[in-house]
Amino acid sequence: MTPAVLFAAIIALVLVAFQVGKARSLTVAGGPRGIRTLHSLPGHYGLLTAMWCAIPSLLVFGIWLAFQDAILIRMVLVHLPAEVQHLPKAQLGLMINDLRNLVAGNIAPESVAVSTRLAAVEYLHLQSIARLALSALAMVAGIIGLLVVRARIRPDLRARNAFESLIEWVLFGCSGIAVLTTLGIVLSIVFEAVRFFTFVPLTDFLFGLNWSPQMAIRADQVGSSGSFGAVPLFTGTLLISAIAMLVAAPIGLFSAIFIAEYANRRVRSVVKPLLEVLAGVPTVVYGFFAALTIGPLLRVWGEAFGFNVSGESALSAGLVMGVMIIPFVSSLADDMITAVPQSLRDGAYALGATRSETIKQVVLRAALPGIVGGLLLATSRAIGETMIVVMAAGLASNLTANPFEAVTTVTVQIVTLLVGDQEFDSPKTLAAFALGLVLFVITLVLNVIALYVVRKYREQYE
């Protein structure tokens, strides 16, 4: 059986197990009239049986498949001629790749060595045996689980509680996957970043004022030795994010106030979705809007006023990024303003406050922590935004606070460092991971603060 067929068979077995467990509980209870003598409903006995049938067989299935390929390759290699076995590691790896491709039918048999072809035949042979063994083992494990539970079904078996505690573990497992994935990402970044810091001291990286990562890859190449001072990138990121927030914070906040407090239901039902459409525009579209429309426009306007605006400028990227972030700010602020209880507004109105006094001094005051949290989340999004700045901000690592000049950001440099063929023992490539780590730490801190602020606010009114 191929794994797919086997999986279907396991599912079928689990369905059978459900019916077996249910039927058994009814038998034990002495027919449908005896259901009230059971601790749980017949369905719960069925579910419990099905779970204990599914868990062992799926475990066998999963673990086996995870290791099958590695073990089979090892077994095939043992039977290969000695000279193949003693090939250097890299060439052996290439051979194994050929072998895999051959087995999968991706390449023609004539294109590889005879020994590899023989190995492939043996691999296929072993694979069919392994599949048979796996099928037998998985089904047996499932059936054993089924039979064990079936034998234990009695009226006083607490099937509902047992099933529900199993479900609890399943839920725990799911949240564990999310946490472990995050941990994996962090570790992979940290490891590469640490390797980078063996080439470049941490202080040079964090406080150096010159960023020029180009360096010679081969000895005969002409190239600089590379300079990894990341301060120009940080200031560039900061400059663009600041411009973006200067656009997004007031516009987002004011539109939220309009939508939440002034707009009637009809206007609200039109404006709110329209504003949220902005959040759905792909960032690459914003990117070429910034690069092809706003950038040149700013240059023309700049010339009219006597400024020297470069075609790729921090201003154009920041403005467009700000527009992109407006819906984040407005929809979060809108939620927070709407969450302010009507009783507070009534209290202010009853004292003779006008609508704008009520909004300024009571509603916004109450919603402030939530709004601040939303702004912080939007900021961390601005810092992490990549596509717009790649297209519109430029690559020149200028250390400047002038928004009319081209700057570059942390995210842009990560992209340029990793695009194309790279070698992973060069500080040039590894620098991307160090930058990623910095970015990760900054956004993490911002998010933690934002979530803390928002939660504090939630506690107040719920």
């Binding site: 004292l351 406050a353 107040q460």
Partner: protein, 274 residues
């Protein structure tokens, strides 16, 4: 003050039992009707409110007493689809008139709500809010004086005098409600509306509020909606019984509770329904 100074003529076909007029009425309502969309919540209500009296409005849930109370300071304006018809005169002026400034009206007619709703500000700022927006204090000293006296009259001063800068939400429920009363009287209104002010409070806090209402009666006309008939009997001089949008009976509280004339009133206060 002249008797019946502002009381409007009472329509002849009035169905309400008892005397709806009051001597020297400050509020005078005639043929008041309230609609929520198509649904009529209040039908042809006629009643006066006199200064220095507590008028209790009682009745089963959904009888429209809170809706009627909200007519006095036009809080129904904030409800989409609510319409108020008829005459409601405050000292001879129709408050429904389009020239009536609702902000000024609400400064004269304060309101205390069912659930304490202190603003997310300090205790001091909660009380100072009304005087500030109406410009009642010329300087900080006067404002301090208003806050101080309002908290004193609300019986809260001794409990909060050392922590005026703490948030109003840090107080207990009963203290919060007295803070809301202090906030209301800081604007120096003529009438105070109370919408079940004790329904979220325990008996001890309720007793304090009731004592407070008794003291406030010296200076204000008070109109209180309550679900507790004992409370109505304890704090009010006149009682109005509402039933399904109609004002059934009005009279002196002692008479309403000992000798109701309408069958519906009797059924309600003897606990046959409600």
């Amino acid at each position: 003050m002249k008797d019946f100074a502002y009381s409007l003529p009472v329509p002849k076909d009035i169905k309400t039992i008892g005397t709806v007029t009051a001597p020297g009425a400050i509020f005078s309502c005639r043929n008041v009707q309230v609609f929520y969309g198509e649904k009529q919540a209040i039908r042809d209500v006629n009643i006066d409110i006199a200064p220095k009296e507590v008028l209790a409005m009682i009745g089963p849930s959904g009888c429209g007493k809170s809706t009627f109370l909200r007519c006095f300071n036009r809080m129904n304006d904030t409800i989409v689809g609510a319409r108020v018809l008829g005459q409601i005169e405050l000292e001879g002026k129709d408050i429904q008139d389009k020239h009536q400034d609702v902000v000024q009206l609400r400064a004269r007619v304060g309101m205390v709500f069912q659930k304490p709703n202190p603003f997310p500000k300090s205790i001091y700022e909660n009380v100072a809010y009304g005087p500030r927006i109406h410009g009642l204090a010329a300087d900080r000293g006067e404002l301090d004086e208003i806050v101080n006296s309002s908290l004193r009259r609300a019986g809260l001063w001794d409990e909060v005098k050392d922590r005026l800068n703490q948030p109003g939400t840090s107080l207990s429920g009963g203290q919060q409600q007295r803070l809301c009363i202090a906030r209301t009287i800081a604007v120096n209104p003529e009438v105070i509306l109370m919408d079940e002010p004790c329904s979220a409070l325990d008996p001890i806090a309720t007793a304090k509020i009731e004592d407070l209402i008794d003291e406030l009666r010296e200076s204000y006309a008070i109109c209180i909606v309550t679900h507790s008939m004992q409370q109505a009997a304890r704090v009010s001089q006149r009682t109005a019984y509402f039933h399904l949008g109609d004002l059934i009976e009005v009279g002196e509280t002692t008479k309403i509770f000992t000798n109701p004339r309408a069958k519906l009133t009797e059924d309600y206060i003897t606990g046959r329904f409600g």
